[in-house]
């Protein structure tokens, strides 16, 4: 009696040490780019880019979306001003709010667009001067009336006036329905017709706090405060979303943890129910749960001492819950079976350990060997999980084989059998039945193997995240915008000539939308554009400071309104004029005056700023803009954006290959995603091959029976094929979160095969009559119950892990139950032709 107590005491002490190690040493590195070997070529390229331009990766992006340029610029300007005052932010840059770029904005458009814009402004200069002089509804109507009279008198094109009428009609109509529609001056008097969504981006460099789990948290909080602090009228003008790597990570953490409580509670209830069904006794179920906690604690202690865990190795908890429960359930059910047959508790435990110990040790050896096979790959994340899992399986087996007999010796009542709520299988199926089931299983596995060839690894971190998270929605919006997409590549070169050559070569590639270097930020055809600006200079000056010309003696406002109304609604007037006339005839709803002039001062100020436009040189560019293209060491970055849809893996691969063909050193998110997918695919093939060889060798060494080797390995391959086929058919590709199914499938698959093969030595049907099927069923069901609920998580990666775990474990169960007995039966017939099992 003393030895069992000492054994449990020792286990308790070791567990306490493991918990202490966990508290003191456990660290997690959430950077998915460090899941793969830093020596891989694409990792080396990415590191080079990050070292030269560290700000590219840490930038937070504010995406402002509004129905008009004026609204977008108003909100962007207000945000930029407020953000610049926050000490948590190192730098704030918005091209649309930058004074230099506002003044020289015309030069960044093509010459034809500059001419069109200046022609429109020149034609509208007297209108603008009149509006500056009288910013009331009457002043607006008088200016419009005068402009209409001038246009009619000069037989001029009334297209510009029609846009003005349309916009005015929208202002009146919106106010009449109780909504605000501020007059979009820039879009109406510019050369771009109003409509659609206008998007602006503010780039913020956070001051990172390395002491925090989320170093950008203070900056993100400051940004949230600034957005919340916008005055309601300005805030109502646009939608603002925050994205960029720091924001995505912060929201990812939130989405991972948001439903974890509910998931945990559901898992607890389900696991408790299954263990009660399996054990038929609360004390035995309690012992099982307690020892499972001990196993997880021991392995966590070991994991903490290995080094910083990563996004994949952190999933060892899932792995050890499944594997730990497997050993515990098998042994406890075997003990119960012995006790049912009349053995004393201690003796039942010893008998069970003696009967199953060999299989358990073989299972532990093969599974840990399979896990250790993962350490031989470049997939650093999985290699670490392999190491932890390999050691963890041995620990789990040791705990089961020592603690359970010790507990049974100390508390014999734990072994007392209770009435079984779920009847045992009893007599197994006939040989013919076994073979039929086996054939059916084989057919399913073969079909699955064909489909499984299409399985792929999705290495894009964005696809792991909650698609409804604001940062992810904003990310996808800018990803669809060729000018803003984060799926861009960079080429680092020495000198302007090389940069210009590289950009030109890349620009000729069909997969490339734009290839830009800092030289391209100096506008082209400046002489012609400056000539045009010079030509329009007096008109622009007049618009911002001239005294309006009136062609007639002032009329009373009512008379102006009546005359304008008559002109707008005269037969033959344009549809836009008619629409405004109709609105005007219904009177002026409250708020129209404010809406007419909300953006007018800013619009006039922008025209005024353009009066200062002069030649743009590279040295004159705003420093935040230049810093994106010139590294501290003087190297130049060529920025390359894709022409295709980066949501399509094949298009992304084509883009990366096309860029690499011109510039082999190109780096960036697409290169990392494509490179990672290939590296992980290669690593998984290597690891599973090594794992299968190691497991097969150990099974062969332990049993010396070829048929048992086949009976263990074939269902494993079949389960893997079914899981991969499901991944293809359900559109749930493998990713950094759900790739955990691979080692778990190997572990539980090998274990299940060994137990069934062991039980089936007396004949295929005997396998079904033993306690093994029930043990396997409950072991797998417990793991599914523990982690299948993750399938309901908002976090797509976590959800896919829950779904694929459920599918993989079910496939393991089905493959083991259908194929293992059939293979054993087939083996028996081959060895003893003509003799059939009596069942």
């Amino acid at each position: 009696m003393a030895a069992p107590r000492r054994a449990l005491l020792a286990l308790g002490l070791v567990t306490a040490l493991a918990i202490a190690a966990t508290v003191g040493l456990l660290r997690v590195d959430s950077d998915s780019s460090r899941l793969l070997s830093p020596d891989l070529p694409f990792q080396v390229r990415a590191h080079g880019l990050n070292a030269a331009f560290p700000d590219l990766k840490t930038a937070i992006l504010l995406v402002v979306e509004a129905p008009s340029s004026d609204a977008a610029d108003a909100v962007t300007g207000a945000l930029t001003l407020a953000l610049a005052a926050r000490p948590e932010l190192a730098e704030v840059f918005a091209p649309s709010a930058d004074p230099f770029l506002i003044a020289h904005g015309l030069l960044y458009r093509d010459t034809g667009a500059v001419e069109a814009a200046l022609t429109a402004l020149s034609g509208a200069s007297n209108l603008l001067a009149a509006l500056r002089a009288d910013q009331t509804v009457d002043g607006f109507l008088a200016a419009v009336d005068s402009a209409g009279a001038l246009a009619a008198g000069a037989s001029a094109d009334t297209g510009g006036l029609d846009r003005l009428y349309t916009q005015a009609a929208a202002v009146w109509a919106a106010r009449r329905s109780g909504q605000a529609h501020p007059f979009a001056w820039s879009d109406t008097l510019g050369d771009t017709p109003p409509g659609g969504v206008v998007r602006r981006v503010i780039t913020v460099q956070p001051r990172l706090d390395p002491a925090r789990l989320s170093p950008a948290r203070p900056a993100l909080d400051a940004i949230e405060t600034v957005i919340a602090g916008l005055d309601p009228a300005t805030a109502a003008l646009a939608r603002v979303a925050v994205t960029g790597e720091p924001a995505l990570r912060a929201e990812e953490l939130r989405s991972v943890t948001s439903s974890i409580g509910l998931s945990f509670a559901a898992s607890l209830v389900l696991v408790g129910l299954i263990l009660w069904l399996a054990m038929r006794s609360a004390p035995r179920a309690g012992l099982s749960v307690t020892l499972l906690v001990v196993i997880v604690a021991l392995v966590t202690g070991f994991a903490a001492s290995v080094g910083a865990l990563n996004l994949i190795s952190i999933a060892f908890i899932v792995l050890m819950t499944g594997m730990g429960e497997d050993f515990l359930v098998h042994l406890l059910l075997e003990i119960e079976s012995r006790a049912e047959a009349g053995a004393e508790a201690a003796s039942a435990a010893v008998q069970a350990a003696g009967h199953l110990g060999g299989s358990m040790l073989l299972a532990a050896s093969t599974t840990s060997a399979a896990f250790f096979a993962f350490t031989a790959t470049d997939f650093v994340g999985m290699a670490q999980l392999g190491l932890i899992g390999g050691v963890g399986v041995i620990l789990a087996c040791a705990v089961a084989l020592t603690a359970i007999p010790a507990a049974m010796a100390i508390w014999p009542r734990l072994a007392i059998p209770r009435p079984r709520p779920v009847a045992r299988a009893g007599r197994g199926p006939s040989l013919r039945g076994v073979m039929r089931i086996g054939v059916a299983g084989a057919v399913v596995a073969l079909i699955a193997a064909v489909v499984a060839r299409e399985a792929r690894f999705d290495a894009d971190p964005i696809n792991l995240r909650d698609p409804d998270a604001p940062s992810v929605i904003a990310f996808r919006q800018i990803a669809a915008d060729p000018g803003l997409t984060p799926y861009r590549m960079s080429v680092l070169v020495d000198g302007a000539d090389a940069a210009a050559r590289t950009a030109a070569a890349l620009q000729a590639v069909p997969e490339v939308a734009r290839a830009v270097w800092i030289g391209d930020l100096v506008p082209g055809d400046q002489a012609a554009k400056l000539d045009l600006i010079d030509l329009a200079y007096p008109s622009l000056e007049y618009a911002v400071s001239g005294v309006p010309v009136t062609l007639e003696a002032p009329l009373p406002p009512d008379a102006v309104r009546a005359r304008l109304l008559a002109r707008l609604t005269v037969p033959g007037a344009s549809a836009a004029a008619q629409a405004f006339g109709t609105e005007l005839a219904r009177g002026d709803p409250a708020g129209v005056e404010g809406d007419l002039f909300t953006f007018f001062p800013a619009f006039v100020a922008r025209i005024g700023a353009s009066l200062g436009a002069g030649e743009v040189t590279r040295d004159a560019l705003p420093s935040p803009l230049a810093a994106r293209f010139v590294a501290a060491d003087g190297r130049l970055r060529v920025d390359v954006t894709p022409s295709g849809d980066m949501g399509e893996p094949a298009e992304m691969a084509r883009f990366v290959a096309a860029v690499a063909a011109v510039a082999p050193g190109a780096a960036g998110a697409p290169d990392q995603i494509v490179g990672a997918a290939r590296a992980v695919g290669g690593a998984m093939i290597l690891a599973t091959t090594l794992a299968a060889i190691a497991a097969g060798l150990l099974v062969w060494i332990a049993t010396r029976r070829g048929i048992e080797l086949v009976a263990v390995m074939v269902p494993l391959v079949a389960a893997a094929a079914i899981t991969a086929a499901f991944s293809v058919l359900a559109g749930v590709p493998f990713n950094y979160a759900n790739i955990i199914v691979a080692p778990l499938l190997i572990g539980l698959g090998v274990n299940s095969g060994i137990y069934l093969a062991h039980a089936g030595r007396a004949g295929a049907a005997a396998a079904f009559e033993s306690v093994a099927p029930q043990s396997i069923l409950f072991s797998v069901a417990t793991t599914i119950a523990a982690f299948g609920t993750l399938g309901f998580s908002d976090h797509r990666g976590t959800a896919s892990m829950g779904i694929l775990l459920t599918v993989a474990l079910t496939a393991t169960l089905v493959a083991s139950f259908t194929l293992t007995p059939a293979i054993l039966a087939l083996g028996a017939r081959v060895r003893r032709p003509g003799r059939a099992h009596p069942g």
Partner: protein, 192 residues
């Protein structure tokens, strides 16, 4: 010695040499508006003679090379020498017609130059052109000192709206829609 004295006297008496840029610009615009007013307001002139005199005033007062450059822009490269010659021949008469249509309605009073101001490298000369309703139309003439030619009008503006830009827009549309031939036909037809 007598020759030198005569040369110095000639230089002293020359208005171009003595005038500031603003004064030269003002003088050029005064000459232009008086000449155009004289041509438009004389009821005894035959229409052809009126047009001839008006065209002459425009030719003398406007920097027609610059007008051509701005009106055609890059499209000039698509003109044959013959087409360019037709354009250059038709332009003064066309501008004269345009001028008459805009400013030839209140001819009972003399136009008046009211002031000058610098705008970048040019000078804006403000004038009041009488209208038929008895009111004055404020017009600004943009004048540039053209080397070898002196102060010449490069644009005319009313209420900030540039004639040059409006016509450039119209010419561009004609070239796009009807080609060089269409533009020349339009130009040669003149403003009625």
């Amino acid at each position: 010695m007598r020759a030198i004295a005569a040369l110095m006297l000639a230089l002293f008496l020359s208005p171009a040499a003595a005038a500031t840029p603003e004064e030269a610009a003002r003088a050029a615009v005064e000459t232009l508006v008086q000449a155009t007013h004289a041509a438009l307001a004389d009821p005894g002139l035959a229409p052809a003679t009126r047009t001839e005199r008006l065209t002459g005033a425009i030719t003398d007062g406007f920097a027609l090379d610059l007008w051509q450059r701005f009106l055609l822009g890059d499209a000039a490269a698509g003109f044959t020498p013959g087409e360019l010659a037709r354009f250059q021949a038709a332009l003064p008469r066309y501008l004269a017609g345009l001028y008459a249509s805009r400013f030839g309605k209140g001819l009972d009073r003399q136009p008046e130059v009211t002031g000058t101001r610098m705008v970048r490298r040019d000078i804006l000369v403000a004038a009041r052109i009488p209208r038929s309703d008895g009111r004055d139309l404020p017009v600004e003439y943009r004048v540039r000192d053209i080397p070898g030619a002196g102060a010449r009008v490069i644009d005319v503006m009313v209420g900030g709206t540039s004639f040059l830009i409006l016509e450039r827009d119209e010419f561009g549309a004609l070239l796009r829609e009807r080609g060089v031939g269409g533009l020349l036909t339009h130009l040669e037809a003149g403003i009625p």
